[in-house]
Symmetry: C2
Subunit: 208 residues, 2 copies
């Protein structure tokens, strides 16, 4: 197949979005990229993965940015000053995502991939959400040591951070229906049912 299809997935924390992305990729024979993008961007840039991990899906830290810019102005850190800012890391990761989209059909989770690939006609963007009680249950399964209240707090904070990152780097709003081609509450059909339903859209749209 010459055409490279890219499916991007935004997701509420605990919604099952990552599971859906993995199973969708497996069922279509597509590549799957989530945290893998961090290692790839590090390898391509020659920077250590920790730099990307620390900035992963976090909005720019104005102070840190000013600090590296300041060091750059003072003649220190010049070669990497821009790269070390979150904006610089975002640019590197964006190139990694664009290269990937040219090379193979794949599913990319998070990291503003829908915005980075907005001009790609073979890219479809998805947002996965879920009922709060289902999300709490899923988070507790991953972290049995925490309480329901802590799980809710964790969910709220993670989503707030993802929204800040998305809204900072794109001209769209995280979680807003109009920001994605399709948004679905995964509790309507369950995880596997949602995978099949999304697959149906992809196959209809791209005549697979």
């Amino acid at each position: 197949m010459d055409r490279k299809i890219v499916l991007t997935i935004g997701r509420q924390f605990g919604s099952g979005g990552r599971d859906i992305g993995q199973r969708l990729a497996a069922s279509l024979g597509f590549g799957y990229y989530d945290k893998e993008l961090v290692t790839m961007a590090a390898k391509e840039s020659g920077l250590c993965p920790e730099v990307f991990e620390n900035a992963d899906e976090k909005a720019s830290d104005g102070l840190a940015h000013a600090f590296t810019m300041g060091l750059s102005y003072m003649g220190m850190f010049t070669p990497h000053a821009d790269i070390l800012s979150n904006e610089g890391l975002f640019k590197i990761q964006s190139d990694t995502i664009r290269n990937l989209a040219e090379k193979e059909s794949c599913v990319i989770v998070g990291r503003c991939a829908d915005y980075i690939l907005r001009d790609n006609p073979d890219c479809l963007s998805f947002f996965i959400h879920n009922n709060t009680e289902v999300r709490v249950q899923r988070v507790l399964e991953m972290h049995p040591e925490i309480t329901v209240e802590q799980a809710k707090d964790f969910m709220a904070k993670t989503d707030k951070s993802r929204a800040a990152y998305y809204n900072y780097y794109t001209n769209k709003t995280w979680g807003n229906a109009a920001s994605y081609h399709l948004s679905i509450n995964a509790s309507v059909l369950g995880i596997d049912g949602t995978v099949k339903y999304i697959q149906h859209l992809v196959k209809t749209k791209f005549e697979l």
Copy 2:
């Protein structure tokens, strides 16, 4: 069929949401309710339809509310004071929607029906959006006398008004993915393709 299935549709102005709702209802053999709700609510309450039309999908006018409440306090308009406020009209229309949902399987467009029927397990909520250029084109087909700029302005104002109405009467956010079971950009599959795709979800979910 004993089970009454209700599909609610929220929509961006010019997105094709109403067309999709009508065709979806026709294809499933369901009733279709949009503006019809105004006449029904009027008939059930004994008030004239114009009262409902003026308040249709508009957020409460605080001043008018205070005014009718004031008249009520002064002993005037007592029997209808609460009814004549937008909140009162919303309550009447909510009863109309609940009665409808008990009587027949149907598609209901707008009017916070998704929120009113939030505890109904046989209710699925949809939000239809579309690319701006497609929406402008659709609005111009309906109103060939206006300019592109006027169409955009009309779209923005109508959606702002719908959002204000929805956000006022529900604890959710209009156009936010998490407020609906499924949100879709109708340009991905076109109007008829979107109808079929939604129908597929309804048939899968309710095993029709």
